[in-house]
Point group: D2
Chain length 334, copies 4
């Protein structure tokens, strides 16, 4: 961390600042120039509040040089984290495919899709029970009943299940859910993240629509600071000015996150593009860029899905994508 | 709402679509061209799920022509809503000034500031008890204790208080809070919004960092759909590529929101700019553009605030801004 | 400028770096920590290529502490620049109002509007002769003939004229134009900027749709580096996710630019919002925030303008806005 | 195209509007509802100025349903365009690799790199002679001399060359250049695009930093409207809020552009990410998503490049990426 000191600062003021910083366990190096004085701070600066420092009357600006995330930071944990869900492993070379419908609708629907995606190679079953919708008048999911249907499909197929939580008060309903998903709009719902840090269950954390990778990692840090280190990061498209695609899938987030952090990174091409015909090329691109897994919407009858049908693959299309994904993964390893 | 039909759609398919739409109480008008067929939908389209319609195999695209928000829509409520908080009115020509520190720190601090801002003309006292911070290592507010200190200051000064909620489970603590604030990062925390729709207390709803006005109004709609019609909209800056200012205050949101909706609109120049020296020009700009109120951070000792000190005014600076705001409001009325 | 040095850098390598930097006339201060070494550079760093420095194998990252713009920088020119166009002054307390139609259409149209806006208090006449349009099939302006019509209106009314240039090869046509405008899409047309640096005529430089204030000032620097110091900066709205307004007018750019630079700053509320009914509140907001002038579209028959009619005021509406602008300017000065 | 008519419009006004639209060769279908009347326009609406239509007093809003680009539109040219440069073909299944240094520096440098990238499989040589730089104080390229050095390297290796133009007045220097590049910042330099429409040479058109795919295709349309149909589209990263990567490479632009247009699409992972270590994963992702080619920066001594060195591969790294790209292309075809 570097603090630029205002012109006109007295030696006494500078001395007081340095003393205060050293009290926090930091070492301060002073570089004096004719127009500027720079104070370089060495030590654990992740706990320094940059805005507070910047608000001091003698400080012109503060620039962070090292990242604020610690538990999620690869610098302090060079080895890949492998998240384990029953017999399924994610990260550290283990590729996970999470597939299923946008919304859970009926026992037949969810079980039928579960069997189809399992046969095609999916390792986890996803399905929305609680659905965040922009409008209060849109379908909000089957909620508690949807989770029951997912658990029933899990029992029948043996697949671990992934589903989204929208409020910490719903946690009791998630007792037998294997992976809890935090949606893009809740990525900075800090109270929810804190609660999820208290449990011992993998969390799939989706990047917010306009959030940076640093903010995504700070949200992972909220969960990890509570002691829950089983976090899976998910790139699902960011908001840009483009309108043909619903969002813009940031594939470069995959290698960048894997450099910054040891956590596994999966990609959701379905929500990102909003169009089923773009799922295949973007799933292949994500695999080629080194993703640890994919999250893909599959519906047995895309034209009748209650929501997001336009972005769902049929089971046959999904099976076809899976074959190509496997080939691309072989190509990049060889 | 207009649906563009794909080429190759049969008369039978089109007939089924029209029948389905008419079942929802809509009237469908068909415009047939050589290359395209357009179906115009007339009626209450706010309850039609555009994504579902777009996912049908014969539909190419759907364009909404009327807005999806109803309760918040000025078309159906031409008169301004006036939100009343004790003897204070907001909207319909009543200008409200909400002032106070970013964080509540101590009884002396909050009471001292309350008295100072009241003397300068503020009508409501703000102060953060629960603080959303990007990093789990930053100060998170005094929480329950902070609300107690606010209530104490309210008792001493008679000023109604405004403070932020971060989770619906904290609602019991807000029983004596006058206006509950929903922060930018929770603007699409739909479960929280639903809970706030169930109570009968004014809600100050801040626009999210990358959210559109339509999304802000849909979030207001979540609250209003529950029966709580006392919603105050707050523009607090949006995320743009600019880095000199923390966010970009969208002043045009003021006249635009007031055209679209009957709800009062206040502006927070402190968070938007992140710099105390920009608060004055932006407060004046907001007043000139027709805002119904301002939300301004004031601290008795900006250099020692635990957070966001860089954006706080001193009480003397605040009093000075208030005088100019009054003059600008007179100028635009005359 | 601060360079963070990679771990594992030898003393010899560090010494070579320092020698190279000192060759450029800079002083390098070294702050060594256990995990990081920081080199603080003092001196004229505006001519250091940060990307080149960052590409060196021993450099981890580079952070600029002082701005790269020099001629446009208020630090080196504390006094306001006053741009003079005939008897009209812009900046340093002189408020300029540039008004006229989006496109020049006919002698009657441009002269008629010129007289009307002059009577209402406009000091410069604007009108588009060369029109940048997204589509090659849209009206591209009367081009050379449009400039002739503007010059004719100038002769009749005595008003100096402002019009946009789209290519340096058109410069001969601009010989008698008083102020040359560079449009948002050409803000980083560096070859054009260099040519405009070679002439001695005021340049009105519009901010690009997705450009930062720093980039705007660097583009001003291109012009000023050639010796032409008569640059007027213009905020005209930036691209954001909002769709109700065409662009988002960044009013905070006004006080921010005036702090960073000594150049005058004018605001164009017509293009920013794209709606004539938002011109009034945004013009007042710009005046309240301290702008040095306004650029407003006025058309005698907005419903028949060849382009951008939706955002034009009638002369009567313009006269009304002018009265209120004058009152707001008085309010903020008193 | 659909026009929404304001309430209160008389039959006579509506009749006049319809007559005016039919004069333009369009067919107008009227859908009347209680609250709204919609006019559906069928025919060639690419030449209708939507803003003009929207500015009419009786029109509330206008929504385009079909795209405005015609020559670039796949609907009217279902087959892939194959751009031919000497014996090199781009598009229609032909994969092109354009490689070379950011800036041409010396005869040895450019010839050395040319031979190295040719040996590794590159089919076209790139090199910057005119360099757009944000700062007037940064290195601006060797300009005319740089083009001479490129032509010399072309002669020695037989590779066609690609280099950027910054102003139409430089066209004579580009007589023997094989492919002329239009950079991101000039994507909407409409006068330049018109000039390039007049010549008969392939144009590589880069997407602007904050431009949509529709705007990119409209800029291609400017070139094609002049009769030059040899346009190669290039995705090179867009500006987002992310700061770890220089830009965000929009890989979904590849399948989306190929659906919308028949023009070949290449991807530049070097400029997009600004980091050489991200070039490999992003090149593989682009190939997996179906790109028609890649544009990659290669430098024989990345640490001494005059610009953008941080994003250049060494020839050995480039050869390695090429091998993997070939494997990924095989994987997605099989």
């Amino acid at each position: 961390m570097v603090a630029v000191i205002k012109q006109g600062t007295t030696e006494k003021q500078l001395g007081e600042l340095v003393a205060w910083l050293e009290d926090m366990g930091l070492t301060a190096h002073i570089c004096k120039g004719q127009q500027q004085t720079i104070v370089g701070l060495i030590g654990d600066t992740s706990r320094v509040d940059a805005e507070l420092l910047e608000s001091l009357s003698i400080v012109d600006s503060v620039k962070r040089i090292s990242e604020k995330f610690k538990s999620a930071n690869r610098k302090f944990h060079p080895d890949d984290t492998v998240v384990r869900v029953g017999s399924v492993a994610i990260g550290g070379g283990n590729f996970a495919v999470i597939a299923g419908p946008c919304s859970v609708e009926s026992p037949e629907q969810i079980s039928g899709i579960a069997e189809a995606v399992k046969a095609a190679g999916a390792t986890l079953l996803r399905g929305g029970a609680f659905k965040p919708r922009t409008s209060p008048y849109d379908f909000q999911g089957l909620r508690a009943q949807g989770i029951e249907l997912l658990l029933h499909a899990k029992e029948k197929t043996g697949m671990p299940i992934v589903t989204e939580i929208m409020d910490a008060s719903h946690l009791p309903l998630f007792e037998n859910v294997d992976v809890i998903q935090v949606g893009a709009r809740n990525m900075q719902n800090f109270e929810l993240l804190k609660e999820l840090g208290m449990i011992r269950k993998p969390i799939l954390l989706k990047r917010g629509l306009a959030n940076t990778l640093s903010e995504l990692l700070m949200s992972a840090e909220y969960i990890m600071a509570g002691g829950n280190e089983q976090v899976i990061l998910c790139e699902r498209g960011i908001r840009t000015f483009e309108t043909y695609t619903r969002n813009t899938l940031d594939i470069s987030a995959v290698p960048m996150l894997k450099e910054l952090s040891h956590l596994p990174v999966v990609v959701d091409p379905s929500h990102a593009t909003g169009m089923s015909r773009l799922v295949r090329p973007m799933a292949l691109a994500a695999a080629a860029a080194g993703a640890d897994g994919l999250m893909i919407e599959v519906h047995n009858n895309p034209q009748q899905a209650l929501c997001d049908g336009a972005q769902s693959l049929t089971p046959a299309e999904f099976a076809d994508v899976m074959k190509s994904v496997t080939k691309v993964r072989e190509a990049i390893r060889s």
